[in-house]
Symmetry: C2
C-alpha cells in the first residue's frame, strides 16, 4: 500500500481509540491533526479565501446552480482530481479512489443559495469579516473541500475506501434536497455509499447528528364561487380551509421527539364582494421521528377531508361542491445517526481538539436523506463563526488562526473515517 | 307663474292621477311625455351619442374623477345652467332654480368607473352597439342628464322646487358612495334635499326602490410570528382567523329581508416554514334591513374577538399575543322607498309608458344614502339595454327608437315630481 509523504500515523494513533470510545463529557485531546498538516492548512489560508470569494461571486440561485457547478468541477480538477463529472440533476461528483472499490465515503457541500438571480453579490471586507449573501452558506463548505483535496493530493493520502467529493444542488427551501436525494436514490452511486459528511455552516462546534424530517403541503380548496349577495348559501372554500386549520390545531403531537406543525401561508379570493373559488393553505409538519411525522400527516389530511365534507354538507352544492387538492411541496425525511456511532465521536473529538465547544444538534440538511436510509451521516461546520445566514448581510469571521482551526475539523473527521487502520 | 313654451300640462294631467294611484298591475298609459317633447328627445339623439362618446373617453378611474368632473361641469354650462360648481369631495353640482327655494330635488349620475387609469378607453361601434369600458355605467346617465337639461332650458320649464343636477364621485366599489354621502351628510345641500333620482344603468325597465346595505371589514390578526419548528407552541393568527370564519358561518340570518355574509378574501404568511405574524380576512355583510345588518355585524365582530381570545388561551403568548385589528372598508346603509310612494309610481308608469317592462328591484347604488336617511329616492335606468358591465367589453344598445324611448323615462319622472300641480 502506498504511504503518504507525510506521516499521519501519529494523528491516527490518537484518533482511533477516541473514535471507538464512549461519548466523552470531558474535552478530548484526540482528533488532533499532526502539526505538519496543520501547517499545510495554514499555508492554504490565502488560497481558501481567494476560492471562497470566487465561489461566492459565482451566483447559484435556487434551481440555477449550473454556473457554480461548472466552476466547482473545474476547481476540483485544478486541485488534482481527475474523475470529475456533473450528474443528471446537476450535482458535481469527484471520485478519489481508495484501496478498495467501496463502499464510498461522501464529503459534500451544497452549491445552491437562497438568493434569486437578481441579487447582486460582491464580497465586502470589514476588518476580519467577509460579507456577501451565501458566503458561509455554503461557499465556505465548497472552499473547504478544495483545501482538503489539495492537502490529500499533496500528501498522496491513501484511504481505505474511495471518497466521493460532491457539490449538491437543491439543498435550500424549495430545492427540497433534490440533489442529495438523487445521489442516494437514483444516481450512479445509489446503494454504494457507506458514509456521508455534509459540510454546511460556519460553526465548527456544531455536529448535526439528527435529521428533522418535514412534510409540507399546499392544500387547494376549490369551489364554484359566486356573488357574495346573489349566491349566498352556496359552499365556501374559505370555511373548508378554516375547519382544516381548526382540525390541525386540535392534533396532539409528542414533545419527544419534538414534532411540530404550522398553518403558515394562506391566500384566496379576489374581491370582497365575491365568494372565492379557490383558497390555498400551506402547512409545515416536522419531526425527528418518521412514525410521528407520518401520523401527523395522516391526521392533517383527515382533518382537511373532514372539513371539505362538512362544508359540502352544511351549504348548497347546487352550483358545485368543494374539492380538496393536496399537493406535497416539501418532503425531507427524518432520521439520525446514533450518538455512539464512530462518526459522531470523530466529529466531536475533532471539533474539541481544534478548540471549539463541540455540541450535538438536529436540523434539516442534506444529511437527512442518508440518515433516513440508515446510512451513517453527519452535517458539520467548517468555520470560526459568522451570521445573518439567508440575509443580504450574511458574514463570515476569517481571522486566520480560528479560521484555519475551523478548517481542520472536517479534514480530521475524513481522515479518521477513511485512513487504513481506522475502524 | 311662468309657463313653459311647450305645454306639458297634457302629460301632467295624465301622470298626476297615476302618481297617486295604487301600484298598477296592468300596463299604464300614463307617464307618457307629450309628442312635442318626444320629438325634441329624438332630435337630441346625435348630440347624446356624441356626448356619450366624449364622456366615456374622458377617464374617471376610482378616486381620480377630476378630468371627467371638469368636462361634465362644462357640458352642464353649455347646456344652459349657470350655477355649476365642484364641491369639496369632487361632485359636480348644477342648480336649476325652482319657484321656491326648496326642498331640492336631486337628479344624479355617477362620474366614476371601475377601471384603473391604465385602461385604454376608445369607443367602438359594432352595428347599433357602442362598446367601451364604462359606456353604460355610467356615462349614459351623465349624457342623459345633459339632454334633459337642454330640453328643460329650451322649454323654459318651470319647476316647483329647485333641481340639483349632480355628477357624483365614488359610487363604485371602494369609492363606498363617498360622493353622495358627502352630498347628504356634509355638503352645502345637507338637510335641504327632498327627493333623489339616480340615473344608473342601461335598463329603463328597472326601478331600484330598495337599498341593500353592506358593511365590509378587513380583519387583521397580528401575532409574534416565528419559526415553524423552533417556535412551535406559540399563538398563530391563522387559527384566530380560522375560528372567526367558523364563528361567522355559524351565524343565523333572516331570509327576509335577505341578509348575507361572505368570508371573501384571505391572505397571510410569507414562507411555509414560518408561523405568520399577520393574517388578513375580508368579510362582506349585506341586508335590506339596517337592524339585521347591525346584528350580523355585531355577531361577526364578537366571533372574531372570541377567536382571538381563544387562541391566546390555547397557546403560548410568551413571545406576544394575537391582537385583532378590524378595519371598516365598506359601509353602504340599507333602506328603501315604499312602493306606494309617488316617486315609485311615477317611475313605473313612465317606464311602462315608454314601452319597457317596468319592474321593481333592490341593489346597492347612490340611492342607498338618501334611502337610509328616509328621503324618497330611486335609481332608474335610462337606456335600451346593454351588458358586460364592469368588463372591458361593456356595450350599449343604441338603436335610435328604443334608445330615445329609454331617455324619455327619466325626464318623465323628473317632470312628474317637480312640475307645478304635481303632488
Amino acid at each position: 500500500m502506498a504511504k503518504s509523504m507525510f506521516a499521519l500515523a501519529g494523528a491516527l494513533a490518537l484518533m482511533i481509540p477516541l473514535a471507538s470510545s464512549p461519548l466523552a463529557a470531558e474535552p478530548v485531546q484526540a482528533g488532533q491533526l499532526p502539526a505538519s498538516i496543520k501547517a499545510q492548512l495554514d499555508a492554504q489560508y490565502d488560497q481558501v479565501i481567494a476560492d471562497l470569494i470566487r465561489i461566492t461571486e459565482t451566483p447559484a440561485p435556487p434551481f440555477k446552480e449550473e454556473r457554480r457547478a461548472a466552476l466547482f468541477a473545474q476547481m476540483l480538477r485544478d486541485a488534482g482530481l481527475t474523475d470529475v463529472t456533473i450528474d443528471e440533476i446537476g450535482n458535481v461528483l469527484a471520485l478519489r479512489p481508495g484501496q478498495s472499490d467501496g463502499p464510498v465515503f461522501v464529503v459534500s457541500a451544497h452549491l445552491d443559495t437562497v438568493f434569486d438571480e437578481d441579487t447582486p453579490i460582491k464580497v465586502q471586507r470589514e476588518g476580519e469579516r467577509l460579507m456577501a449573501p451565501g458566503i458561509g452558506d455554503d461557499s465556505l463548505g465548497l472552499a473547504s473541500i478544495l483545501a482538503w483535496v489539495r492537502i490529500m493530493e499533496a500528501n498522496r493520502t491513501v484511504t481505505r475506501q474511495p471518497i466521493l467529493f460532491v457539490g449538491t444542488v437543491g439543498e435550500e427551501g424549495a430545492g427540497d434536497l433534490r440533489g442529495v436525494r438523487h445521489l442516494f436514490t437514483k444516481g450512479t452511486y445509489k446503494g454504494r455509499i457507506g458514509g456521508f459528511l455534509s459540510v454546511d455552516n460556519a460553526d465548527a462546534g456544531r455536529v448535526v447528528h439528527g435529521a428533522v424530517g418535514s412534510r409540507r403541503y399546499r392544500l387547494g380548496f376549490k369551489g364554484p364561487g359566486g356573488h357574495s349577495y346573489g349566491a349566498f348559501g352556496i359552499v365556501n372554500p374559505m370555511v373548508a380551509m378554516a375547519e382544516t386549520v381548526r382540525g390541525l390545531y386540535a392534533v396532539k403531537v409528542p414533545a419527544e421527539p419534538k414534532t411540530t406543525y404550522a398553518a403558515s401561508v394562506v391566500s384566496g379570493g379576489t374581491s370582497v364582494n365575491s365568494i372565492p373559488d379557490l383558497v390555498q393553505l400551506e402547512v409545515d409538519m416536522r419531526s425527528g421521528s418518521p412514525a410521528a411525522l407520518a401520523e401527523l400527516e395522516q391526521a392533517m389530511l383527515a382533518a382537511a377531508e373532514a372539513a371539505v365534507a362538512g362544508e359540502n354538507a352544511a351549504r348548497s352544492v347546487q352550483a358545485g361542491a368543494i374539492s380538496l387538492d393536496p399537493v406535497l411541496i416539501g418532503d425531507r425525511p427524518a432520521g439520525g445517526t446514533p450518538i455512539d456511532h464512530a462518526l459522531v465521536h470523530d466529529a466531536l473529538a475533532a471539533s474539541q481538539a481544534a478548540g471549539f465547544t463541540a455540541r450535538l444538534d438536529e436540523s434539516s440538511t442534506d444529511a437527512n436523506i442518508p440518515m433516513s436510509l440508515g446510512i451513517p451521516a453527519l452535517t458539520i461546520g467548517t468555520g470560526a463563526g459568522g451570521g445573518r445566514t439567508h440575509s443580504l448581510d450574511e458574514y463570515l469571521e476569517t481571522g486566520r488562526e480560528r479560521f484555519v482551526a475551523g478548517l481542520s475539523v472536517g479534514l480530521a473527521v475524513i481522515l479518521a473515517q477513511t485512513q487504513p487502520g481506522a475502524p
